[in-house]
């Protein structure tokens, strides 16, 4: 039986079709989940797509965290279900407290839309098990609030638990200030929770799944998830 993926649609989401397409491309059975839905138990994995849920009013993800579907997702996460939040989805996971830290405006106060080089710091997760350790991948970013912040204690805890999964790096895989697009602390681009079943990342894997798009590296993320839930 194929892995069952649900893609949540909030008012203002705009990457749900790309996520749907990407997950289907690598073999998942995919359906949309409306933000008013209150049950996601029939899925193996949930995708919170990018976009501007609730117009980014107040703060990115601040209003979405109170959607009925988020209660169902909290329950789903408790039971060990896989959840990936991409861009605005990551911001929602932070606001909902499913991942540590918060997003600030980009350091240079600009919306950034371009490819970035990333290093896979942890390939032992449900979301990166198809990557090599330290593998260099290319995924595009498109955001205004991707400047990741967490206090010292949280950063230390995440490092100790291997929760930092992706960091922005240069073309040689070296993590440098120059390769940091948005001012994120320690070049953090993607993190998992302590339990390892919730992943948030600012880059868009669903936009890098076909040669014509400039990179195939995004497939790795979705394939890893399928592999994780097919065990």
């Amino acid at each position: 039986m194929p892995a069952r993926f649900g893609v949540v649609v909030f008012p203002g989401s705009n990457c749900e079709q790309d996520c749907h397409y990407a997950a289907r491309l690598v073999g998942a059975q995919v359906a949309y989940v409306w933000h008013q839905d209150t049950d996601v138990a029939k899925y193996d994995a949930i995708i919170l797509p990018g976009g501007f849920s609730y117009g980014d009013y107040l703060r990115t993800g601040a209003v979405a965290k109170f959607s009925p579907v988020m209660d169902a997702i909290l329950d789903f996460v408790d039971k060990g279900g896989l959840v990936i939040g991409i861009c605005n989805g990551f911001q929602i996971l932070l606001e909902a407290g499913l991942l540590p830290g918060a997003m600030l405006r980009n350091r240079d106060l600009k919306f950034i839309c371009r490819y970035t080089d990333l290093v896979v710091e942890n390939n032992q997760t449900n979301f990166t098990n198809k990557a090599l350790s330290g593998e260099l991948i290319r995924l595009p970013i498109a955001h205004n609030e991707g400047n990741y912040y967490a206090d010292e204690e949280t950063l230390g805890e995440m490092a100790a638990n291997g929760q930092v999964v992706l960091r922005y790096c240069d073309t040689n895989g070296i993590v440098t200030d120059a390769a940091n697009p948005n001012g994120s602390l320690q070049n953090i681009a993607g993190i998992v929770n302590k339990q390892g079943n919730v992943f948030g990342l600012m880059p868009h894997p669903e936009r890098a799944i076909e040669t014509v798009l400039g990179s195939l590296d995004g497939q790795m993320i979705f394939k890893s998830m399928i592999s994780a839930v097919s065990k």
């Binding site: 107040l58 601040a62 109170f66 600030l104 405006r105 350091r107 240079d108 912040y149 001012g183």
Partner: protein
């Protein structure tokens, strides 16, 4: 009718690029005595019912849960009686 005025600001130590840009703009206009600028949000809530103690508790919860993100922001508020 009671009106709550809620002020949300970035915590000390959190980078505020907007504040920095405004600070720079003020410098270029000659306001050399402005040493620091921090940008925040101001939110007004019109409220009904409830005793002052209950209102205070309620506004505190609203400010904590929705109006601010406690990871990066702090808030203050005062509740005034307005006609």
């Amino acid at each position: 009718m009671p009106v709550a005025k809620v002020y949300v600001t970035l915590k000390d130590g959190i980078l505020d690029p907007q504040g920095q840009i405004i600070g720079k703009a003020l410098k270029t206009q000659g306001y050399d005595n402005v040493s620091r600028v921090r940008v925040g949000k101001f939110i007004e809530l019109e409220l009904t019912g409830e005793t002052p103690e209950k209102l205070k508790k309620q506004v505190d919860k609203i400010s904590h849960d929705l109006l601010s993100n406690p990871v990066i922001e702090s808030y203050t508020f005062d509740i005034q009686e307005e006609a």
